[in-house]
């Protein structure tokens, strides 16, 4: 076997490990090993890459320099990555993932740029690489390079904006709602395509590549800035998918299978999660990316709520809870924002001490990234087995004595089931209204993200507890312990 065959075999092993790693992500026990296997695959791929003919070529001509430089870059990057990952608090995971994702996108931009430069140097004869340099099939090379630069730059800047929004940096708190943004984006997109086409026909003008990258960078910002906080799970998934596709495109540039395989696996994963998130929010991807929900003038809030909303104190709710056998806690986006997961754990402890069964109903879009609520609750030492998915727990609500809804609104709105004219009609919801008593912890009757009133708040079996999420839980726990 030639050395190249061995290298390709190593790439095959790495690709297989990646697939197995994804497969093992299906359970919490195997997922830890899956993550190790993914990392092992990455080590194999990177080591194999150091034996590629380009690198051997470099070693022949420059001695140990290529390896030293590659090692230095690896240590610097890896060190920064590890420090960031170890220091960031668990509650900040969505923005951490967004930031890391951005680095991957930027890396793809530079891979394509570097290869473009090498190609230019080779065809101009200014390199001493000699006969070993393969001549580029220009057009396909140029298309792949343009795509890599485009997707990579959009990923990088989009991820940075997503990071800033999730980190709640003051300047990014409000979504960008310039009425002309669609026209601006369209203009930018058309210009980008024209520049990209120009580059494909003249790949030796590398200024066009950089112009393309600059345009894609602006586009990455203007596409992400208008998207609101509640839609962030979708954006994170989509950017994740882009970073994979950028890597796959880079694989087309340098003709490398492992890049194409790993990139497309990530691309597929991001696309699936995007679809799941959109479905769970009952929104189309186009709707999330290009604008709000449209005008929603269905039920009037006053008609729904007038005189029917019952408010209760912590002591009254504690009395209801004391007589319960089974309590289901429904945490939502508001709980993630208030970071009340530890307070919820305290409440659950107090209930369980009284022999009450406590479970958690998790809606797919609860939190700020896919599955985020599970991580937040796991951090508060809530056992994985008690976190129940929507389809799993919905049939059990009729046997539930009390459902406590904290910081969730649209995902428990029964109008999705009962009112076919509602903007959220057909959206999968948690059927908390079927529980014997529903306690809703909420600051006011203000509508959720969909901007519609929630008949649940006016239902006969619902008690409203108006307070800030975290404080409400603490007061409730205190009342329960006194009672």
């Amino acid at each position: 076997m030639t050395p190249q065959a061995w290298i390709n075999l190593a790439y095959l092993a790495a690709s297989t490990l990646f697939i197995v790693a994804f497969k093992m992500m299906s359970g919490p026990r195997t997922a830890v090993r899956g993550n190790y296997l993914g990392a092992a695959g990455m080590v194999i791929a990177v080591v194999a890459a150091c034996f590629e003919h380009n690198v051997r070529d470099g070693i022949m001509r420059h001695g140990a320099w290529p390896l030293l430089l590659l090692g230095a870059a690896t240590v610097v990057g890896g060190g920064i990555g590890a420090t960031m990952a170890l220091r960031y608090p668990m509650t900040g995971m969505p923005q951490m993932v967004a930031l890391l994702n951005g680095f991957g996108g930027a890396a793809s931009v530079f891979v394509a740029a570097g290869e473009l430069w090498n190609m230019g140097a080779r065809s101009a004869g200014t390199t001493d690489a000699g006969a070993s340099a393969p001549l580029a099939p220009w057009t396909q090379f140029a298309i792949a390079t343009a795509l890599t630069g485009l997707i990579g730059a959009i990923t990088f800047w989009g991820s940075l904006v997503a990071f800033a929004k999730l980190e709640e940096l003051p300047r990014f708190k409000k979504a960008w709602t310039n009425p002309n943004r669609h026209a601006i984006n369209l203009g930018l997109a058309i210009t980008t395509v024209l520049v990209g086409w120009g580059f494909i026909t003249h790949p030796d003008w590398d200024i066009l590549y950089w112009l393309l990258v600059v345009l894609a960078s602006v586009l990455g910002c203007t596409l992400t800035l208008p998207i609101g906080g509640a839609d962030m799970p979708v954006v994170i998934c989509l950017l994740n998918s882009y970073s994979g596709l950028a890597a796959a495109a880079a694989g087309f540039v340098i003709d490398n299978n492992v890049l194409v395989i790993a990139g497309s696996l990530v691309g597929a994963s991001g696309l699936i999660l995007t679809a799941i998130m959109c479905q769970a929010m009952n929104r189309s991807l186009v709707g999330v990316l290009f604008g709000g929900l449209g005008t929603t003038t269905t039920a009037n809030a006053d008609d729904v709520y007038a005189g029917k909303v019952k408010s209760a104190s912590a002591e009254e709710i504690a009395m209801v809870l004391e007589n319960a056998d089974r309590v289901v806690i429904v945490p939502g986006y508001g709980l993630a924002v208030a970071q009340a997961q530890h307070a919820v754990r305290e409440l659950a402890n107090a209930l369980e001490k009284r022999g009450i069964t406590v479970e958690y109903a998790i809606h797919p879009v609860a939190g700020r990234m896919p599955g985020h609520m599970n991580v937040l609750l796991a951090e508060a030492d809530i056992p994985y087995e008690k976190l129940r998915e929507m389809d799993d727990i919905n049939p059990t609500f009729p046997e539930t004595d009390v459902a406590i809804v904290i910081g969730a609104n649209d995902v428990v709105n029964p109008a999705a089931r009962t009112d076919p004219t509602s903007p959220i009609a057909g959206m999968p919801i948690l059927d908390v209204d079927k529980a014997k008593t529903v306690v809703v912890v909420k600051r006011s009757l203000s509508p959720g993200f969909a901007g519609i009133p929630n008949p649940l708040f006016a239902a006969d079996n619902t008690l409203m507890y108006f307070a800030d999420g975290k404080k409400a839980i603490l007061d409730l726990t205190a009342a329960l312990q006194q009672g």
Binding site: F18, G27, V46, G81, V111, N118
Partner: protein
């Protein structure tokens, strides 16, 4: 070092493949891998979607392999600089991604601490 000599001697043999064939080969790999990805990932439960996102995020740092191929030859100064920058960026993604995923998965395991 005969091993090294054999490896270095191989540099001159670069496969020649016509561009369209090459493109179709890569496209085949791309589509099949996408298919496998869809099949495998639809089986991941919602509870583990956050670690899945960060784990796949780490794997997207595979661009590091591309960066090595670009920088390793030291063929042109700018090309090498871009390649090395790309490698460092990709490594932030790779190492950060795997560490973050491990931290998250650790919390799902009751026996910790």
């Amino acid at each position: 070092m005969p091993f090294l000599a054999v490896i270095l001697a191989d540099t001159a043999t670069v496969a020649t493949e016509d561009p369209a064939t090459r493109f179709i080969r890569l496209l085949t790999v791309f589509l099949l891998a996408m298919w496998v990805g869809f099949e495998v990932i639809t089986k991941v439960p919602q509870r583990l979607h956050t670690p899945l996102t960060s784990g796949s995020n780490a794997i997207s740092g595979i661009t590091a392999v591309g960066a090595i191929a670009v920088a390793g030859a030291l063929a042109s100064s700018m090309g090498s600089i871009f390649g090395l920058v790309a490698l460092a960026l990709a490594m932030v993604n790779v190492v950060g991604g795997f560490v973050v995923t491990h931290r998250m998965l650790d919390m799902f395991n009751p026996k910790k601490k």
